[in-house]
Subunit: 120 residues, 2 copies
């Protein structure tokens, strides 16, 4: 079964090592050896993660046989950002509700102040 692109992207991102690799590549392209250094992982283990990222189109690798630098490819991340944008109103809603409540409180306070003023 062929996976759709978003599913492939999300699956590739569902791993802390792979997200750390992307974060590292965000500061510039680098070789696999350099990339592997901060991780307590064998080169083959890192290579496996790179293959997942490459298949998802999240990284690209140079063509030189010996030194094949990895670099970030942001296209699939843009699609994730677009997808998630549809849900923004849901996490901003709770904020909206608070704002509305504060406006209501303010209105009531003004009314009370006016009424008090009239009575005096």
């Amino acid at each position: 079964m062929q996976q759709d692109q978003l599913t492939t992207t999300f699956a590739a991102l569902a791993d802390p090592t792979r997200r750390a690799i992307l974060a590292r590549l965000a500061s510039g392209e680098t070789s696999v050896t350099e990339l592997a250094e901060p991780f307590e992982m064998s080169l083959p283990a890192i290579s496996k993660h790179l293959k997942v990222l490459e298949r998802a189109g999240l990284i690209a690798r140079g063509r030189e046989a010996q030194y094949r630098p990895c670099r970030l490819e942001a296209g699939p991340l843009k699609d994730v950002a677009k997808w998630i944008e549809h849900y923004r109103r849901f996490w901003e809603q709770s904020f909206d509700r608070l704002e509305e409540y504060l406006r209501e409180v303010q209105k009531k306070e003004k009314k009370n102040a006016r009424d008090k003023h009239r009575r005096n």
Copy 2:
């Protein structure tokens, strides 16, 4: 091994049926039976997907024994949006480069026009 929240969220989103469930819930809370209708899937299969979404905190379910409506919970999506924001400059970069190029072309054209004017 306990998974970090982002990994759990991405893993939950790495499935087209689960994303379709979230899209459905974006237009209002609903029962599992209603939710299952558009999918060619058994109720137990849908329930399994709901459990994954619930464990990831992407949906919540009512407490009534018979009718347990599902509703969207957007907190984890907000975290994904925050995570992805760090990479925005990468997909906007190619646009920036085009803009820069167009500015350069415009500058050169203006200069050429000025030079031509002076020669005449």
